[in-house]
């Protein structure tokens, strides 16, 4: 404790000393900063705003599904005014608007919210600190990466205001649908979507090169590979996924741009008829090609969404059980296997495309194989809990509920991985339920756990525990109320694509009970939104009024980020950090306290 107190002291004098010489202006400090911590915060704030925006898109859609044909309350007139009569006549969500909200909800959540918050925000802030590095290996690339991301986000949002509205061919943008949505105005929302994606892919390329190079090159003395915290391992593998999986989508995006703007036929087959008239293109392309290239990114992307989340959960759990993590090495090897296998499972999204049963069998096999390392990681985390003296604070509650929620998400994926059962469930609400269990109560809970856990390091203050627990309990309850009914709807065969909530199917008296679930989901989604209010209040008030962190290491954690001053200054460490031991040495027999930090010699 003494040494950490003196840290804080020297840091204060250091910064006042720096002030006297040169004070960085607002722009160089907050907009054009090359400091990984500032960039991490920039990513975090922008990504959380996009997350909120994506959430509101979803609320509007859920209202439409529960009350098809009724004007959207509160925002209906605004939608009509801003987006035009074609989109929302009298405030009623039209089919096109529903489709574009659907496509943009997916795009925004995946590419602008979750990946940036996990990789851009937590990755940027925490990774260099945990490996004892002064910054990222390429600070200016890091800044460029954020700027490309932000610009990509601006392009995506701008697309809502183009004539014809934003992209509306699903977040997967399947061709030929995506190439024929607007045959008159070729510079439509889809073109914006593709340009936005090129920017986002550039951003993730710069980011991933930076992360991998940082982890390889800038580990401090003593930080051997097997002494790296699991969070760093997760970021390392995620970096490779982003580095290698995104370029094929960039290639595919360029091809679709050419199809849309220059009339080529990469993805347009011969004899395509649109709205009753033959399409005036050469044809000869392959719609399957788009799907292959898209899912070659799309599947590793799913692991990009989950691996850093598992990394955060591992950090929070290991700290709050006060005992060593069970099976650290097997978790490391598992995360590497997941990284490798995730490149050869993509076509399990395409069983229904008629690509052939032999191909389907191959991808079914690899899909079952990838569940093994995932189960190993989850099992190791569960076994770690055994015999621990668990601290139930907001961070650990979120991390603990991640485990069963991600478990549900993973297990419900198995029937989709099998060819035979997928044919029945494909494109139904079951798929939506499965995927959202992985990312919403899964990844999002990890994000919240990470925010509660690292907040004292970033701001020097704790978040309020009571509000945090309210946030956790409400979120856990309503998340399940939102997503569990979707499994039932899916089993009943409800398609995921219909903007009327399935009325055309079930209005014929097949099973009206399934339709009523739409109401339940809508009101639960409202409840989920209300439960985020304590979090937002907590987040902002705690920056200024939260309980001050007692020391630089308030959670009594072992990893290196806690041996920096709070908040860490530019350059992070006051003296060169050295890792003397593994990352999770809690309750070591004979040690003077129940935690032995990596950076402490004794």
């Amino acid at each position: 404790m003494q040494s950490t107190a003196s840290h804080a002291h020297t840091s204060a004098t250091d910064s006042s000393h720096g002030h006297a010489h040169h004070e960085p202006g607002f722009f160089s400090k907050y907009i054009f900063s090359t400091d990984h911590k500032v960039i991490g915060i920039q990513y975090g704030v922008s990504a959380l705003l996009f997350l909120l925006f994506g959430f509101f898109l979803m609320l509007a859609m859920r209202f439409q599904l529960a009350n098809p044909g009724k004007p959207v309350p509160l925002v209906g007139p605004l939608l009509e005014k801003v987006l035009g009569e074609d989109m929302a006549k009298a405030g009623v969500m039209g089919g096109d608007l529903y489709n574009s909200f659907g496509a943009m909800h997916g795009t925004i959540m995946v590419f602008l919210a979750i990946v940036p918050v996990l990789f851009g925000a937590f990755g940027n802030y925490v990774t260099p600190l945990q490996i004892g590095a002064p910054d990222m290996a390429f600070p200016r690339l890091n800044m460029a990466s954020f700027h490309a991301y932000f610009l990509g986000g601006v392009v995506m949002i701008a697309s809502f205001f183009t004539p014809g509205g934003a992209a509306r061919s699903g977040w997967t943008s399947y061709s030929p649908l995506a190439s024929v949505t607007d045959l008159v105005n070729r510079f439509d929302g889809q073109t914006y979507w593709l340009m936005g994606m090129v920017l986002l892919i550039t951003s993730s390329l710069l980011g991933s090169v930076n992360f991998i190079a940082t982890i390889i090159q800038l580990r401090c003395r003593g930080m051997s590979w097997m002494r790296m915290p699991f969070f760093v391992w997760a970021q390392f593998v995620t970096g490779f996924l982003l580095l290698l999986a995104f370029p094929p989508l960039e290639a595919a995006g360029l091809m679709q741009l050419m199809d849309n703007l220059f009339g080529s036929s990469f993805f347009l087959p011969q004899g395509l008829v649109v709205s009753g008239s033959p399409l005036q293109v050469s044809g000869g392309g392959s719609p399957l090609l788009w799907q292959h290239l898209f899912w070659f990114l799309g599947h590793p992307e799913v692991y990009v969404l989950i691996l850093p989340a598992i990394g955060i959960v591992t950090e929070v759990i290991s700290n709050n059980i006060r005992k060593p993590l069970w099976g650290y090495k097997s978790m490391v090897y598992s995360v590497m296997s997941i990284g490798f296998l995730s490149f050869i499972v993509w076509a399990h999204h395409m069983y229904l495309t008629g690509m052939g049963t032999k191909v389907a069998t191959f991808f079914q096999t690899t899909t079952m194989m990838i569940s093994i390392p995932s189960v190993i990681i989850l099992t190791a985390l569960f076994i770690s809990l055994w015999g621990g003296s668990i601290r139930f604070n907001s961070a650990s509650l979120f991390a603990l509920s991640f485990l069963p929620m991600f478990g549900i998400g993973g297990l419900t994926g198995l029937p989709l991985g099998f060819n035979a059962s997928d044919i029945f469930l494909h494109d139904s609400y079951y798929v939506i339920g499965h995927f959202h269990y992985v990312v919403a109560p899964g990844t999002m809970f990890a994000v919240f756990a990470g925010i509660y856990y690292w907040f004292p390091k970033i701001t020097g203050r704790h978040m309020n525990e009571l509000l945090g627990k309210l946030h956790w309990a409400g979120s856990l309850f309503f998340m399940n109320c939102v997503f569990a009914p979707m499994f039932i709807q899916g089993f009943k065969g409800m398609s995921r694509r219909m903007s009327d909530g399935g009325t055309t199917y079930f209005g014929l008296g097949v099973d009206p009970g399934v339709l009523k679930l739409n109401n339940m989901i809508f009101w639960s989604a409202i409840g989920l939104g209300i439960c985020q209010i304590p979090f937002i209040i907590n987040f902002f008030s705690s920056i200024f009024m939260g309980k001050r962190a007692a020391s630089d290491n308030p959670w009594q954690a072992t990893t290196l980020e806690w041996s920096t001053p709070t908040p860490p200054p530019h350059g992070n460490f006051l003296q060169e950090p050295v890792a003397y031991r593994g990352p999770y040495e809690y309750s070591v027999p004979g040690a003077k306290s129940d935690f032995s930090p990596q950076g402490d010699k004794n």
Partner: protein
């Protein structure tokens, strides 16, 4: 704390940061071009037979200028050699020789781009035409006594546009006849026979541009993307040769590293072409 290993190698990995960075970047680039080559293969093997009007094959062959492509390959390989020589000259502490080799490299790059744009120009004004009787013609066309040029997109002709502008006849400067493999059947006096074609006889016509056939779409996409890489590389190497060369005085070790990293990228650009040339031109 300063960021370590910005130009000194880290002892256990034996690499400085930028070298790790460039190799990772190149890995990503391999995936980008790999996806495009895969797309080429998939489009080619799944192309419907009889789709290309010129020959009884699904996929157009022999339409690219092989001698020019070969020459361009040689130009690019030369530049790859000179970029190594430039780096070696720096290692031997000979800055003047470095600059000479770097200038040759950049000149080769621009020569490559110039030759490539000559090829592009030829393709934009080259047409394939299918007639009522099922026969197909390929060659450059002349409309109202003018040859269409690539820099003017309104010069692109289609059957509909000819009818709209009430053009009755066009002249076609015919290509030499080819067999099904795309090889020229016979060389001789009738190489560039000029034929008049009535517009009413034409079922379909299109220039050698992306809209006419997926082959051209994929050809233009890959070569244009490669061309952008050549341009980008040339600009960076040119920067190192002149304004960026100031670093040679302040930090020679880091400057040599920069040349090495730039050279690695340049070899990659060369390597892409080494694959691109046989796949697109020869096969």
């Amino acid at each position: 704390m300063e960021i370590p290993y910005t130009y000194k190698a880290r002892p256990d990995t034996g690499l400085y940061n930028a070298k790790v960075g460039i190799w990772l970047f190149l890995a990503s680039e391999i995936m980008l071009f790999g996806a495009l080559f895969s797309a080429y293969i998939l489009l080619r093997v799944s192309a419907p037979v009889g789709f290309w009007p010129d020959v009884a094959l699904a996929w157009p062959r022999g339409l690219l200028n092989i001698p020019i492509g070969t020459f361009n390959t040689a130009v690019l390989i030369t530049s790859s050699v000179t970029v190594v020589l430039a780096w070696a000259a720096l290692k031997m502490n000979n800055f003047a020789r470095f600059r000479v080799y770097m200038v040759i490299t950049v000149l080769c790059a621009f020569a490559f781009l110039g030759i490539k744009s000559f090829e592009y120009n030829d393709k934009f004004s080259h047409y394939v035409i299918r007639l009522q009787d099922g026969k197909a013609l390929t060659g450059h066309i002349e409309v109202d006594g003018k040859h269409p040029r690539f820099w003017n997109f309104s010069d692109q002709w289609s059957v509909a546009k000819l009818a709209e502008q009430k053009v009755a006849k066009i002249k076609v400067e015919m290509d030499p006849e080819r067999d099904v493999h795309g090889h020229v059947k016979a060389h001789g006096s009738h190489d560039h026979e000029v034929r008049e074609v009535a517009v009413s006889d034409i079922v379909f016509m299109g220039s050698y541009t992306p809209a006419t056939h997926p082959f051209f779409a994929v050809y233009f996409l890959i070569t244009a993307l490669h061309g952008l890489h050549v341009l980008g590389g040339a600009l960076v190497l040119g920067y190192f040769a002149f304004p960026g060369a100031k670093m040679w005085k302040s930090n020679p070790e880091q400057f040599i590293n920069r040349i090495e990293v730039g050279g690695l990228f340049w070899h990659f650009v060369d390597l892409v072409w080494i694959f691109l040339f046989p796949v697109v031109y020869l096969l």
